[in-house]
């Protein structure tokens, strides 16, 4: 794809000492505290942690939906303070517009941000082909299965040719078979686009299978507890998950997460 040439150098996310707090019942609650990390162009980073640890908050901060109370986040040296089309977001589920057909959902972004000389229509056709759903171009999302809907969600996010793809537990609601196929497909797309991916999940297997690096988060307030490099060879497939190294890495994550879950559970019960 012709996008490769310039996206390789773009899509660097620098998170510089940020905190995100919410006010709830007249109290400031820190969902995240003093987080720093650098995500390199083209890298596949998973943010892993038990639910409630602030993964979504961090992702929404990167997306520009939430502004950090301290610190700043920058994309390619530009401080992020509002959402921008340089970043594509894939939400958990049911975020496609039910009133637009599959094709209209995908072409909606390009029709707002005209880039290059492809028409929004052409872009939609191309991405429908990529996700293998050309036959469903004129269907409404409610006529599609959950897995198909999420493929459309990914196509919609990519249709703007973003530099960074942000994903918030995108496969969380899918059955495990579909989920594995979606993961393999996602890796293929990622290779093709050479795009930076920040992928939020609470599923250890998913994180280890997908990531170059896992940012393991701790709870209350959320911090990055471990920055774990995943040195599994690529391309990854079924055999990857049977390898000794995969099982080792999974073990490491398991014990770290377990500590956190217990800590979170005890804190909530105090």
């Amino acid at each position: 794809m012709n996008q490769n040439i310039f996206t390789k150098t773009k899509g660097k996310v620098v998170i510089d000492n940020i905190s995100i707090s919410y006010s709830s019942r007249n109290e400031q609650i820190y969902a995240l505290k003093d987080i720093s990390a650098t995500i390199n162009p083209g890298e596949f980073v998973c943010i892993l942690g038990p639910s409630g640890c602030g993964k979504s908050s961090l992702l929404n901060g990167i997306a520009g939906f939430v502004n950090p109370s301290n610190g700043k986040i920058a994309l390619d040296n530009k401080v992020i303070n509002k959402p921008s089309p340089e970043m594509g977001m894939v939400f958990q589920q049911y975020s496609l517009y039910p009133w637009k057909t599959v094709k209209e959902n995908i072409s909606f972004g390009p029709s707002i941000n005209k880039k290059g000389n492809e028409s929004p229509e052409e872009i939609a056709v191309k991405f429908l082909d990529m996700i293998g759903l050309s036959k469903y171009a004129n269907h409404y999302p409610n006529e599609l299965s959950g897995g198909m809907q999420q493929r459309v969600g990914i196509a919609r996010a990519l249709a703007n040719y973003p530099d960074v793809l942000l994903m918030d537990e995108p496969f969380g609601a899918l059955d495990s078979q579909t989920r594995i196929i979606m993961q393999e497909n996602l890796l293929k797309i990622w290779r093709e686009f050479k795009i930076t991916v920040v992928f939020v999940t609470h599923d250890i297997d998913e994180a280890v299978f997908l990531a170059d690096r896992i940012l393991l988060m701790s709870t209350l307030p959320g911090k990055i507890k471990r920055d774990l490099k995943i040195d599994l060879p690529r391309p990854r497939d079924k055999e990857t998950t049977d390898s000794k190294r995969f099982i080792e890495l999974r073990q490491i994550c398991h014990s770290l997460i377990r500590e956190e879950s217990i800590k979170a559970f005890e804190k909530q019960n105090q």
Binding site: P83, Y94, P98, W99, F108, I112
Partner: protein
């Protein structure tokens, strides 16, 4: 070829309101039939005084008579046409004013706070009470009638639209904002379609409410209109004309409701696929 025909048939079937396709429709027809038979029995056996409850045949005769010879100088068609015209004119005006107002009030707290007192104040007032004031302000002509119908239609529309906008899943707005969509794009691509089905439900309830004030609106200085015909016939104890008028009025209401749902299904084709 045959396949195509089959497809066409299915396409046409989609536009038949879903309630008519359901088994429950048969049960509804059962209730209607039982009511009708009870009516026949009660009137034929003389259980009911014909002065107050004439039989179906009498009503039918009155229908034919008013249709051909008219009531007080106007045929039934003119009465119905006049009233439906008034209702639709007022209702459409109310939609033009109420739906944008509702969207604004649903999307902005400040707009809601500013505009809420306007509708909340007059909403519980009885239509006849309101009408006397409208007559004083606007005279006894067409304006006061339309104004009363308009005011009856408005609050339901606004309240339904506010609710519709407030219930929009925030993720829909996030998607559009994430793409850098303008306010106008968001209005037409998110707010209106997302709120559409609830707004339509509000429109249907609101139209029904507009019907309930029709008689009140046509009491004074009208010489045509089905509401006026009913009111006038009641003065002369012409119960057959009253009942016939009510039935015809009810049928136009049902007709308009089916028409609105039909339009809704065309404007919002995706609603056919909502839910399992």
């Amino acid at each position: 070829m045959k396949n195509n025909q089959l497809k066409n048939k299915r396409n046409i079937k989609r536009f038949i309101p879903p309630f008519m396709r359901k088994k429950t429709f048969a049960y509804s027809m059962l209730t209607v039939n039982i009511l009708f038979i009870t009516w026949v029995v009660v009137t034929e056996t003389g259980l009911a005084d014909e002065l107050f409850l004439p039989g179906p045949l009498k009503i039918w005769q009155s229908f034919i008579e008013v249709s051909t010879e008219g009531y007080q100088g106007n045929t039934l068609f003119v009465h119905v046409f006049t009233s439906v015209n008034r209702i639709l004119a007022a209702f459409i005006m109310a939609c033009i004013v109420g739906i944008p107002m509702g969207v604004l009030m649903g999307a902005s707290k400040i707009a809601r706070a500013l505009l809420n007192p306007l509708i909340e104040f007059y909403r519980p007032l009885p239509p006849l009470g309101l009408y006397t004031l409208l007559v004083m302000w606007l005279g006894i002509g067409e304006e006061s009638k339309l104004a009363l119908l308009f005011l009856a239609a408005l609050p339901g529309l606004i309240i339904a639209t506010i609710q519709a906008v407030q219930n929009i899943d925030p993720v829909y707005l996030r998607v559009a904002k994430g793409l850098g969509a303008s306010k106008k794009t968001i209005l037409f691509n998110v707010y209106l379609p997302a709120a559409g089905p609830t707004i339509l439900a509000g429109m249907r309830i609101s139209l029904g409410f507009t019907y309930t004030v029709l008689v009140a609106a046509e009491i004074v200085a009208a010489s045509a209109g089905i509401g006026w015909m009913i009111w006038d016939a009641a003065k002369f104890l012409l119960s057959d004309v009253v009942i016939m008028g009510l039935i015809v009025l009810g049928l136009t209401g049902i007709g308009l409701d089916i028409f609105m749902r039909f339009i809704g299904r065309i404007l919002m084709p995706w609603t056919r696929y909502l839910g399992p």
